[in-house]
C-alpha cells in the first residue's frame, strides 16, 4: 500500500483542490510547477545553504536519558525547537519564499495560529526584502503576544481575524480572501499540510528534511536508521508530516499522531479531529473535519493555538483512516503536565503544541529496547505566560 500522494493530488480519498475560480490560476500554476522548481539544482543549493547556515540545520537528535528512564524506553528528541525562530515552521517558509521568488511574486501572505508560522514567514520576508502580511485570530493575538511583537519587529503587518472563533481557521479564511483579492502579485505561504493540492504535498516535502536527518542521526546513534515509533503533535500536521515522511513506506515504524483534546474529547471544547471529525471539505481540501450534520464547520478549542484547528491535513486523514498512523488525544491539562515533566527532567521548555506529543508517553506502552523519536517541534518561550499560570499546579 502506498501512502504517497497520487498524480491528481489525493491521498486515497483525501486531498484535491476545491477552490473557487478566483484561486484556480494560482493553484493550477503551483500544481504544474512546484516539483520542477523545488528540485532544480540551483534551488536545492540555495535552500540547503540557508537551512544549514541560517536555520542551523541539521537539528540535533538528542537521547533524553532521564525521560527514557522514567518511561522505560529509549527516547530521542528531534530538536526542531533549536531552529532559528524556534520551531520547524521555518523549514517550510525558507522553501516557499524561494519558490515565490521563482514565481515572480512580490507580496507574501500567511495565516498563523501560535504565531510560529507567522514569525517564520515574517523572518524569511525580512531576509528577502518582500512585503509580508500575516492573518492571525484575535484570540491568538491575545494568547501569543510575544510572537505578535516579533512579527511586527520583523516588519510584517499583522491583521486580526475577527470572524468565527477568531483562531487559526478564521485566520486561514481571511488569508484565502486576501489571495482572492490579490491573485497576481501575491503568494500565499500556507503553514501546514492543509489547503488545496499542491500545498499539503509541497509543505510535507519542505518539512521532510526532519525525517531525512533522523535517518542519518539514528543510524549514527543506534546503528539502525529506523526507529520503532515516531510521536508528533498534529494540528494541521506539518511537523508530523515532516517526521513521518521518509518512513511512510516502512510499516514497521509506528506513527503516533497526537491531537489536542482541549477540555476533553467529548466536552464540546476540543480539537480532536480524527475522533470528532467526518469527511468533508475545509480550506480547499477533502479531509476529516469537525462539522455539524449540516456541514457547518465547528469551532474547535485547544489551549494550544497551533493545534486549535477543526481539520487535519489530507495526508494524515489517510494515514489515520487506513490505520497506518495511530491518533492519540491529549487534553490541555495533560499537555501542561507533560511540559513541566520535560522541563524539569531534561531542561527543555517545549512549546505547548509539542508538549502534547510528550503527554502521549503517559498513554502508550513501549518496550524497554524500543527506539521512540518525539518530534520536539518548537520551544516554549511564547507560552511562558500560560505556563506561569500553572506553576503552582505542576511546577512543584
Amino acid at each position: 500500500m502506498t501512502y504517497d500522494i497520487n498524480s491528481k493530488g489525493y491521498y486515497g480519498e483525501f486531498g484535491g483542490a476545491f477552490v473557487p475560480e478566483m484561486l484556480y490560476p494560482n493553484v493550477d500554476n503551483l500544481q504544474r510547477s512546484y516539483k520542477e522548481i523545488m528540485y532544480q539544482p540551483d534551488f536545492q543549493e540555495e535552500m540547503n545553504q540557508l537551512l544549514k547556515d541560517y536555520v542551523g540545520r541539521p537539528s540535533p537528535l538528542y537521547f533524553a536519558k532521564r525521560l527514557s528512564e522514567k518511561y522505560q524506553t529509549q527516547i530521542y528528541l528531534k530538536r526542531e525547537d533549536l531552529n532559528h525562530t524556534g520551531s520547524h515552521k521555518i523549514n517550510n517558509t525558507i522553501g516557499q519564499i524561494l519558490l515565490a521568488k521563482k514565481l515572480g511574486k512580490k507580496r507574501i501572505i500567511a495565516e498563523t495560529g501560535a504565531g510560529q508560522h507567522g514569525v517564520a514567514t515574517a523572518t524569511v520576508c525580512a531576509l528577502m526584502g518582500i512585503e509580508c502580511i500575516v492573518y492571525m485570530g484575535s484570540v491568538d493575538i491575545e494568547r501569543q503576544a510575544p510572537n505578535v511583537s516579533r512579527m511586527k519587529m520583523l516588519g510584517a503587518k499583522v491583521i486580526p481575524a475577527t470572524s468565527g472563533s477568531q483562531t487559526l481557521k478564521d485566520a486561514t479564511n481571511e488569508a484565502i480572501r486576501d489571495w482572492i483579492q490579490h491573485p497576481v502579485e501575491t503568494h500565499y505561504i500556507i503553514g501546514s499540510v492543509v489547503g488545496p493540492h499542491p500545498y499539503p504535498d509541497m509543505v510535507a516535502r519542505f518539512q521532510s528534511v526532519i525525517s531525512e536527518e533522523m535517518k542519518v542521526q539514528l543510524k549514527e546513534q543506534t546503528g539502525n536508521e529506523n526507529p520503532d515509533a515516531i510521536i508528533a503533535c498534529v494540528g494541521g500536521g506539518s511537523n508530523a508530516a515532516g517526521a513521518f515522511y521518509h518512513y511512510l513506506g516502512d510499516e514497521a515504524v509506528r506513527f503516533i499522531a497526537v491531537e489536542a483534546a482541549g477540555m476533553g474529547i467529548h466536552s464540546g471544547e476540543s480539537a480532536a479531529t480524527s475522533v470528532l471529525g467526518t469527511k468533508g471539505i475545509i480550506h480547499g481540501s477533502r479531509t476529516l473535519l469537525m462539522q455539524t450534520k449540516d456541514g457547518q464547520i465547528i469551532e474547535p478549542y485547544s489551549l494550544s493555538a497551533g493545534l486549535d484547528y477543526p481539520g487535519i491535513g489530507p495526508m494524515h486523514a489517510n494515514l489515520i483512516n487506513s490505520g497506518r498512523a495511530k491518533a492519540v488525544s491529549v487534553t490541555d491539562d495533560e499537555a501542561l503536565k507533560a511540559a513541566f515533566v520535560l522541563t524539569r527532567m531534561e531542561g527543555i521548555i517545549p512549546a505547548l503544541e509539542s508538549a502534547h506529543a510528550f503527554a502521549a508517553l503517559e498513554k502508550m506502552k513501549f518496550n524497554e529496547k524500543d527506539v521512540v523519536v518525539i518530534n520536539l517541534s518548537g520551544r516554549g518561550d511564547k507560552d511562558l505566560a500560560t505556563y506561569k499560570k500553572h506553576f503552582e499546579t505542576y511546577g512543584k
Binding site: 473557487p20 475560480e21 478566483m22 470572524s163 468565527g164 469527511k279 480550506h283
Partner: protein, 259 residues
C-alpha cells in the same frame, strides 16, 4: 416541468437582473417573502445564498448576513421547505448558491432531488472543481434538469473559458473583478476590456456579470457587455439598513436599479 432558467433565457437576452440574498436573513422566515417581493418588483432571476460557516469566496457583507442567518437557525431542510411553500406563487427562476461541503453533507442525491421537488432551477457552487463536476455530478444534474453555473475571472485562460462554456448548463458567472463580493465600486476601462475579450469568444452560454455591481449605473454598464448582471452585497445592505419595512426596502431597491 420545463426549467425556468431556460424559459427566462428564451424570452429575455438582455438586462437580466439577478438578485442575490442570503436565506434566513434578516429573519429566519423571510425567504419566501423576499422571493415573492423580488418577483413583484421586477427581478428576473433570484439567487438564494445557503448560509455557510466558512464562505471563502464571499466578502464581509454576505459573510455577516450568513452568520446572522445561521444564528437565526437557518439550515437546508428549512430552506427547501420555505422555497416549497411559495412554489405555486412564484415563477421567477431560482438558483441556490453555496459551498460543496453543504451539498456533500446533505447528500448529493438528496440535495438534487430536493432542488427538483421544490423548483430550484440551478446551482452555483464556487468550490466545485470542473473535473469533479464532470466525473461525479454531471449525470445527476442533467437527469434532474438542474443547471450548473460556473465562474470565470479576468485571470481565467481562454482555454479554460472554453472548457467552462462546454460544461455550463445555466449561465457563466463573469466575475467582474478579482475581488471578493461587495468590495469594488464602478466599472473600469480594464474591466470593459475583459468583458469585450469574453464577448469576442462567442460562447454558447449566457453570461451574467457579478461582483461590484451595486447600482443602476453599474447594472446598466455591465448589461451592455453581457446578458445581464448580478447584485448581491448592495441588496443585502439595502434590506439590512433600509429605513422602511422589508417589502418597501426591497421594492425601493429594485426600482432604484431599474428606473
Amino acid at each position: 416541468m420545463a426549467n425556468k432558467l431556460d424559459q427566462l433565457f428564451e424570452k429575455k437576452q438582455s438586462d437580466i437582473l439577478n438578485i442575490y440574498f442570503t436565506a434566513g436573513f434578516p429573519n429566519l422566515n423571510d425567504t419566501g417573502n423576499i422571493i415573492l417581493e423580488l418577483e413583484k418588483a421586477g427581478a428576473d432571476l433570484i439567487e438564494i445564498g445557503m448560509p455557510y460557516s466558512d464562505p471563502m469566496a464571499d466578502g464581509p457583507t454576505i459573510q455577516d448576513s450568513g452568520q446572522i442567518a445561521l444564528e437565526n437557525g437557518m439550515n437546508l431542510n428549512l430552506l427547501f421547505d420555505q422555497i416549497n411553500s411559495i412554489k405555486k406563487q412564484a415563477s421567477t427562476p431560482l438558483i441556490c448558491m453555496g459551498y460543496l461541503n453543504q451539498v456533500m453533507q446533505f447528500g448529493e442525491n438528496n440535495f438534487i432531488r430536493k432542488c427538483k421537488e421544490t423548483g430550484v432551477d440551478g446551482l452555483i457552487l464556487p468550490d466545485l472543481p470542473l473535473d469533479i463536476y464532470e466525473s461525479d455530478y454531471k449525470n445527476l444534474f442533467e437527469e434532474n434538469d438542474i443547471k450548473i453555473c460556473f465562474l470565470i475571472t479576468p485571470q481565467t485562460s481562454d482555454e479554460r473559458i472554453r472548457e467552462i462554456d462546454r460544461l455550463s448548463t445555466g449561465f457563466i458567472y463573469v466575475v467582474a473583478d478579482s475581488s471578493i463580493t461587495g468590495n469594488s465600486k464602478g466599472i473600469s476601462p480594464k474591466q470593459i476590456e475583459y468583458f469585450e475579450r469574453i464577448n469576442s469568444m462567442n460562447l454558447q452560454s449566457k453570461k451574467l456579470i457579478g461582483f461590484g455591481i451595486s447600482d443602476a449605473q453599474s447594472f446598466k454598464t455591465a448589461s451592455q457587455y453581457s446578458n445581464g448582471a448580478i447584485i448581491g452585497s448592495a441588496f443585502i445592505r439595502a434590506i439590512k439598513n433600509g429605513q422602511q419595512d422589508l417589502n418597501t426596502n426591497i421594492s425601493n431597491f429594485i426600482s432604484s436599479i431599474l428606473n
